[in-house]
Symmetry: C2
Subunit: 224 residues, 2 copies
Amino acid sequence: MVSDSSAVGEQGREIPDATVARLPLYHRALISLHRSGASTVSSEELATAAGVNAAKVRKDLSYFGSYGTRGVGYDVGQLLEEIRNDLGLQHPRNCIVVGTGNLGAALLSFGGFKDRGFAVVAAVDVDPARVGTTIGGIRVGHQDDLAGLVEANDVAIGLLTTPPVAAQQVADELVAAGVRSILNFAPTVVEAPEDVVVRHVDLASELEILAFHEGRREPIAPAS
Amino acid sequence: MVSDSSAVGEQGREIPDATVARLPLYHRALISLHRSGASTVSSEELATAAGVNAAKVRKDLSYFGSYGTRGVGYDVGQLLEEIRNDLGLQHPRNCIVVGTGNLGAALLSFGGFKDRGFAVVAAVDVDPARVGTTIGGIRVGHQDDLAGLVEANDVAIGLLTTPPVAAQQVADELVAAGVRSILNFAPTVVEAPEDVVVRHVDLASELEILAFHEGRREPIAPAS
DNA sequence: TGTTGTGAAATTGTTCACAGCC
DNA sequence: GGCTGTGAACAATTTCACAACA
């Protein structure tokens, strides 16, 4: 679902995609444990806090090195720091929102990214009625200023929240402006060069997966 | 990431989770093809439209039966109907939004669910300032009315957009009210009984996965 | 003693490649 | 001739289970 990765760990091993997808869960759990004052945590406890199992936690962490102490567990502060580094969050990453409809506006107003290491620093739209307005403290620029805003704000990640018909063109513009990470909320496939990572969030797809399981539970409607 | 499934296809075979996760992509692609007037589609074309490969398309569809014609491809209308049924979307599913902050409000105003077979029909919040207001045509009820609204509106799916601290309690209330499918946007683990399916959307996690790949591309900052 | 780190086994998912059919 | 449907080969991921060790 994500483009091919050939990520390599400290020890020169490849990091499996499945492991990368779980790092944020550990990150989140560790932030919470750190706040609550815990100093050490076992793989079992971390697993519970992250919603996975202990074997996965140990195997996943082992790709990055040995940070635990046998018989004791992991140092919360040290492991949090280590995972932050593994995730490339030594410094905050700047994001731009393209498209300021319902979802785009919500992303601009949403404060939950900051403590995870991200800042939404710019936004653009094609609608003249929206250009110049301020949402969540960010002034909405014109679509044509995209490249300039990316450059001026050192933007690393594009959040694509336009209607589906515009998505591919916006993605092309983001890539041309130097953005190499795109989170696409538009319900359509978006193509990009190999070195650009495009991830996809489709809320309707999530609902459909739930509906699938709903459908399996219901008795078949009586025939005749 | 999703609770254990033991879904069984028409032929009595189990449907792999990976296949279920791709059905929405085929659904989306087929809706688009159907609109554009295509009458048949090959596995290769459908694969391109859905962003996967042709072998996956054929294998996935084969779990539900043989709906293609060798040498020709699949009938777009018939396959669309079949997938809609496989997904349990013979009738629309009703959803309730719990928590009407930035994201909750966006979900209430978002129109993109309707053509995928879902309707947001109710919303609740704990904040008295929000209760009684109307967002996206839906009147916001009080949290205490959750069970009543679920019952009155035949709600099948709960969209959980509260702050993390409230998420588990809200999930418990949804389950008590009879909801067995939950889409959790709060960045925390939510527990539920085995027969309840909880899926998770964490936007910050998606950004972190992008950051991981960003970090791998950058040269290590020069030491000294 | 308690918990990590990790090979090996088991499971799940993907791709190949081709027989079967239109 | 072209495309589906599917067993069989292959690859990725998860889980087991236990040696290593603070």
